[in-house]
């Protein structure tokens, strides 16, 4: 695999970035944590992790010009991997705080239904609705680790890569063009989770920025 500039992990004060960084390093890929829009703009690929609540996260992204930098990077074709809160923030609007998100994938984010336990916490099946290069070699209905209380409802069916059941069948993997995002935590999902990050890097290498996009 050819050498490349480090992947950029976006730091906006929400969650366990170190685990994400260590996961990429464990796979032999350099990954740098960055909290400034300039670094994001130049990134060969972006990982957008996060935990916690939407409102403070969105406020931080807007305050530092990071929201615009992320939208611009996605528009310019930079391969982009959202994780957990980093999936939810990609949508147009969230019920959590009744506020707009980044508007990168059409749809909204709502609370998980009452009935089963919330937060949805633990290993659950991810049922693929279609193939995606990041899931290459990952068997359908594999288990991944979830921790969340809200879930995305994409407006367009083609944005749904996979679903998971917890009271309802919700979108657990969303994608659009050069963007993929998982509601679960690949960096906490053992070897299969690491496989997704490895596949993502392979996509980045085989699809130079501005060239072929990660997926379609």
């Amino acid at each position: 695999m050819p050498a490349m500039e480090p992947i950029v992990i976006v730091d906006y004060g929400a969650g366990n970035l170190r685990s994400v960084q260590k996961a990429f390093e464990h796979l032999g890929h350099a990954a740098a944590i960055a909290d400034d829009p300039d670094t994001v703009a130049k990134a060969p690929a972006i990982v957008f992790p996060g935990q916690g609540a939407c409102p403070p996260a969105m406020a931080t992204l807007n305050r530092h010009g990071m929201a615009d930098a992320l939208r611009q990077a996605v528009r310019s074709g930079t391969p982009f991997f959202g994780v957990c809160l980093g999936l939810q923030l990609l949508f147009d609007w969230s019920e959590e705080g009744d506020m707009p998100g980044l508007g990168i994938i059409p749809g909204r984010v709502v609370r998980l239904p009452r009935g089963p336990r919330v937060p949805h916490m633990g290993w659950n099946e991810v049922r693929l609705a279609r193939s995606h290069p990041v899931f290459e070699g990952v068997p359908d209905e594999s288990l991944f680790y979830f921790v969340h209380s809200y879930h995305a409802v994409p407006s367009r069916p083609e944005s749904v890569v996979a679903t998971t059941d917890h009271g309802i069948a919700f979108c657990s993997v969303a994608a659009r063009d050069n963007v993929i995002a998982t509601q679960f935590h690949p960096e906490k999902s053992g070897p299969l989770g690491l496989r997704l990050y490895d596949n993502f890097v392979r996509c980045v290498v085989s699809s130079p920025r501005g060239g072929t996009r990660v997926s379609h």
């Binding site: 170190r18 009452r114 336990r117 680790y145």
Partner: protein, 280 residues
């Protein structure tokens, strides 16, 4: 379907695992990284590290442990023991912990717990509750000195209908707080999960207190981890089926090879429960 979790608990003293795995050929049975990797390979769904370091000057050793483990082991890691405030929580999360549990500090001042939950999110805040059955045989140590305006001296106080009481300081000190009411109250303060230990059953290997597990599971909507009393896989099935627990925690039966995580999980799956088998 969401699987039921099996969670080994490791006691850490000054950066070393005590009471560690004694039956497999590890280079260093006291090394947290080696043990964590071993349990990960066996199919542990998460790991809990309980810091039992007593000396103040060695308090930071757990931070190094968390850093080293999270570099090598890619499953969730909960850390507890001696967590006093939001600053302690922050340092553990930054080191690589996914969840932090609080026990005595939350009892003495629930606002400390809420502050951390507000800052870092409910999903990473675990309320650890040590509970004992009320009645003859309960220890009669002097109770914890709760301030006059503490809810434990008001709506959460033990009353005629109470069956379990919250204990602190390693299960030695009673608080006068009803354990079931406390669990529900702490969910309102931002707990994303309850780690529920029966101090009556802890160490007896005679099964979990499933009356306690069920009462707390029905009182809260967040996940409940049953702890204290595991002696075999059937006890774990009972905690899930009868106690309605979402996860089962055990220490010594895994460490001493009385049963393996693989064996427990195969048994639970044969019992018809949704279970994740090993990572391989």
């Amino acid at each position: 379907m969401l699987t039921k979790r099996v969670i080994p608990c490791l006691d850490v003293n000054a950066g070393r695992v005590v009471k560690g795995v004694s039956f497999v050929n590890l280079r260093d049975a006291g090394d947290p990284v080696e043990l964590a990797s071993y349990y990960d390979r066996e199919g542990a769904d998460e790991l809990v590290f309980l810091d039992i370091t007593a000396s103040a000057e060695e308090r930071d050793t757990i931070i190094e442990v968390v850093k080293r483990v999270s570099e090598q082991v890619f499953i969730p890691l909960t850390v507890g023991g001696g967590v006093r405030n939001a600053g302690d929580v922050r340092r553990l999360l930054q080191a690589g912990a996914d969840k932090v549990s609080m026990n005595t500090a939350a009892v003495m001042d629930p606002r400390v717990f809420k502050e951390a939950a507000d800052a870092f999110g409910n999903q990473c805040m675990v309320i650890a509750i040590d509970a004992r059955r009320i009645g003859p045989g309960a220890p009669t140590a002097p109770p914890a000195p709760l301030p006059a305006d503490h809810p434990g001296r008001g709506p959460l106080a033990v009353d005629a209908g109470s069956r379990w009481e919250v204990y602190v300081r390693g299960g030695r000190t009673p608080t006068g707080i009803d354990a079931v009411k406390w669990a529900r109250y702490m969910q309102e303060q931002g707990a994303g999960e309850v780690l529920l230990t029966s101090m009556d059953e802890d160490g007896r290997k005679d099964g979990y207190d499933n009356g306690l597990n069920r009462a707390v599971s029905e009182a809260v909507t967040v996940p409940v981890i049953a702890s204290g009393g595991a002696g075999n896989a059937a006890h774990m099935r009972d905690a899930i089926v009868d106690g309605h627990a979402d996860a089962v925690l055990a220490a010594s039966i895994f460490h001493y090879g009385e049963t393996s995580i693989v064996g427990v999980k195969q048994y639970l799956r044969r019992s018809g429960l949704p279970i994740r088998l090993g990572p391989a």
